[in-house]
Subunit: 457 residues, 2 copies
Amino acid sequence: MNTYFASFLEANQISQVQSDLEEYGKDRTKMHAPDPSIILFPKTTEHVSKILSYCNNNNISVVPSGGRTGLSGAAMAPNKEVVISLSKMNSIASVDSIGSLIEVEAGAILESIQAEVAKNGLYFPLDFASKGTAQIGGCISTNAGGVKVIKYGMTRDIVLGLEVVLMSGEILDLNKKLIKDNSGYNLIQPFIGSEGTLGVITKATLKCVPKPSNPQVALFACESFEQIPEILKEVRTAGYDLAAFEFFTSSGKDAVISHINSISYPFEEEYEFFTLIEICASKDDDMIDLMEILAEKELIIDGTTAENSSEVENLWGLRENISESVSMMGNVHKNDISVPVSKLIEFVTKLEKLVNTKYSQYHLVLFGHIGDGNIHVNIIDKEDRNISDFKKETHILDQEMFELIRSLNGSISAEHGIGLLKKEGLKYRRTELEISLMKQIKAVFDPKNLLNPGKIF
Amino acid sequence: MNTYFASFLEANQISQVQSDLEEYGKDRTKMHAPDPSIILFPKTTEHVSKILSYCNNNNISVVPSGGRTGLSGAAMAPNKEVVISLSKMNSIASVDSIGSLIEVEAGAILESIQAEVAKNGLYFPLDFASKGTAQIGGCISTNAGGVKVIKYGMTRDIVLGLEVVLMSGEILDLNKKLIKDNSGYNLIQPFIGSEGTLGVITKATLKCVPKPSNPQVALFACESFEQIPEILKEVRTAGYDLAAFEFFTSSGKDAVISHINSISYPFEEEYEFFTLIEICASKDDDMIDLMEILAEKELIIDGTTAENSSEVENLWGLRENISESVSMMGNVHKNDISVPVSKLIEFVTKLEKLVNTKYSQYHLVLFGHIGDGNIHVNIIDKEDRNISDFKKETHILDQEMFELIRSLNGSISAEHGIGLLKKEGLKYRRTELEISLMKQIKAVFDPKNLLNPGKIF
């Protein structure tokens, strides 16, 4: 095997050094130990094609690897797989300003793409906390979401074209710079969100949008969670162009304030529920008008609008640092779920009741992209006991929460995918028929089941 | 067969009357004669399921039928098929203002959905000329485009959930009101744009957007086609939020002016090239500022902004009535193609040269959604000769034009799909590998090839 790879890859494109095997054989999850056989760093699509074709012919399993920021284990290589890291394929072509699009290689870092697009007076709509590390190929493979989904959609909505290498080594060059093409089945879509199980994405053409005009940010405090969806409804029917609609509670806010010195709490009094709103305003006092409407309707009890960029940063900091701050509080069990927006109140009420009555040893911290019905559910062990007991108990709690989510037609994985970690949860969201169709689609693209095997199902 | 259908359908849900067979067995194309065996009008998803299951078990081919406004023959039933018309499944649920979405049955008329959404202070982004007749199930099955794609995307981009019945009769209830769901492969996408070959769509959940703020419309005249993409680049890099960027030439304009009395030409002088621009303005004089910038850069030679709704209607009328007006000029051969926006000039230049040198008996009328790289190519017989000669000659012209489109990485069908009419063109856009993958996907969903057989490939 190594001789073959060495026949077309340079020495620095092949590694079996232990530290590389560990680093490139994992993502951000810690449930499985990385144990790949070799890490390859192709520099061209042809390299990827040769590697895959060889592995396909020799029945060797392959795991594609991006920025390794995934939270479901989809990029884990625990079984002597060949890992293909796309990190040396990271070129970013200049923006096509006429077509409002950009062509990139799969290893390009999200933040670098954002910067390149901004240089051309346009805006790249995908944005989330790990943008400095996440590679666009991984974003596409996981259909990444983030803080601007409410306005721009998921990654799926900005992909115009893909180049993909199938496990057979065959190369699909799909759509490239074309915006409209209704000639037969769309073959780009299956690869988006398929967690590297159908093909290895090598290049992408992505949509850029106009720079948001006059963004305005505010933080509002509410007396009860029930008011949050009401605020959303009010903002929407009043015609505001929402760019973000985020939510957190005092426990998340307290975690940030006590762990991140640079972030300050903007209110004098303490409150329980918060919503952070960003709009693309049509006039300078849009957000102040909105605050007045919401106060008049008694949907908020306090509010502050950001007057400058450091205030914008501070308000967003309160929301964006919750995940990291909560992790510093001890053992944390995380889920990333979604329910229809109209079912949010029912979900939160029932989940709080479940945790408070049956799992009172835990502290529940909720936050997330509430405008999309997406809540990050964090369970923290108040007493910081034995980790294996914690894992066992939260596993049982998960089953009860997943049943609740199923009853509300929600998803057990809103953004993070299934990977290895959430395979057991899949049946709470997808029917047997759906899983059977997925497996048949997998067999169309990878009949020998060698590409990222064991992930999703 | 009829006895079985009569066991669960009422008399008015079954027709073998000749006029119905002709009406429901066709779309807007005239290349094939409709010849279905029976027309069924299910009222529930269960009806659709029973019909499909029966036909699947008895090896009977089925054609799903919507508003029959298609232009590629995808809804034609020329071979004694059972036609399922969704027209009696046309309910529209009230808008979910919190989630900003609407649930509809497949037979709901596009214009009715637009009206229902508007009543709730929101906006439904899908819009095109046949909105008064087109059913949403057909829009989804053909991934319909239209005049607002540049801002809101194709139909694909607004579908949140689908209910689909497979040929086996099995029902897929996909996603419903959920905005975010990354739990395994997305099974909604395969049905969008698959022209009724993979399943029968019975219900859909669709995204609504905020009402466009301050829309402004202008018509600009240019000296050469080369200036049109330059204008697009200018508008984009200046940060304007484009809602539409349309194009037509004097020949299209002349056709409208001479056939539609209510539409008037807004300029004193005659010009050759026109672009109609609609923006969502951030201030009242945005469009006037834009006109000044474009004039200063010598990209336009004349321009007018619409000052009221009747002027908006008149400018849009100039563009939207071209297709119909051109059809009144005699024998017309239509194509709906796309190229990357950056290749528009090359395409138009080469196509004009091809027609002027080799097909000078024809008149070339070009117009379309130029901001998406989408051009409607109309070939008109100047001498109005024998229709069969015209068809033969334009068929040869098509092959030459398709080669040109292929060389520019364009598509032979931007919006209208493949259906029956463009099957021969498919190979100019899709590779053998892609067509093979499509056929395998077809076999996953409809292994006996009974659903809308003979369409696409």
